[in-house]
């Protein structure tokens, strides 16, 4: 079974025809390490789904320091939702940390698909709710937890990340310095 089908069916069951119809709205691309899929300033018209590989979405603050919003691993969705939904220029970058194989759906195709297949509306609504909860928890964690606690939480939730991406990026995600992160693991 196609991994996207498996992914969607974790939330809503699909017939073969439905999946074929949905899948027809996606296109696939390969990108290599260092390539961007979203750049600051552009209006993002695609939502990506990671088949294989690893990406980061990030921006630079006024001191030129990098902050990571999200990593994208296998079976994750990634885009700049603000730009994608509001049709405004993006404030962020998304690029590949490894060679990647991605599926994407354009804004228009996603609109069409949701109106024509009500199930997908439900799918995305659910995804969106869970995404919102995750963001909220991250904010809470940033407010109330120490660096060590945030480190432990991340390590517990996504141990693979620590094997896969450079520690300085984990640090930029947790909001601590590279050196402090290194000392947290002691």
């Amino acid at each position: 079974m196609h991994p996207l089908r498996k992914h969607i069916e974790e939330i809503i069951p699909l017939t073969d025809e439905e999946f074929a119809y949905i899948f027809g709205h996606f296109q696939s691309i390969k990108k290599r390490k260092h390539q961007y899929i979203v750049q600051e300033g552009e209006v993002v018209s695609k939502e990506f789904w990671v088949i294989t590989g690893c990406l980061k979405s990030y921006f630079f603050d006024h001191n030129g320091k990098e902050h990571i919003l999200q990593f994208g691993l296998e079976n994750w969705w990634i885009t700049d939702y603000e730009s994608f939904v509001k049709r405004t220029p993006s404030k962020i970058f998304i690029d590949c940390l490894e060679d990647c194989e991605l599926l994407y759906i354009t804004y228009d195709d996603r609109e069409k698909l949701t109106t024509q297949l009500h199930k997908m509306e439900r799918f995305w609504a659910k995804k969106s709710k869970y995404g919102r909860i995750a963001l909220q928890n991250r904010i809470l964690s940033l407010l109330k937890n120490s660096a060590k606690e945030r480190y432990d939480l991340l390590l517990e939730q996504y141990p693979q990340l620590f094997q896969r991406v450079p520690k300085k990026l984990i640090a930029a995600y947790l909001g601590v310095s590279r050196e402090t992160l290194s000392r947290l693991g002691e």
Copy 2:
């Protein structure tokens, strides 16, 4: 004096006002190693001029082998002229081999500039002629010279290239294998 002014004045003299007017049609960008300035499939609307850095324009043949059309070093112009002039999707990629600082002029601005400032028409006409001659010579060289002869010619004309870009790219430019190139230097 701005390097672009120096570059243009090697062909046509300019007043301060003229250069300021010309310069107003250009924009500057920085790109880092691995970033694309042109990708296959897009209609290229910019012509780039290299302030600092190094780029390659290239494509892949049906065997997935990379072939290099042109390198871009300081004071060189680079774009996909076919796409730029004919407004058709590009068949090539151009990306940065080093961090780069570039100037670019858009198609429309170039059109405006040439109609409004006749000198620039002369400038580009001359550039274009010389570019054409260079291309023709490259074809001749590919047809009649051995790999060793092509290697020697390139080494004579652009010795800096050999210091600056990986040998496998020199090979992809000369149309020989990496290994053969390595043995040519003996």
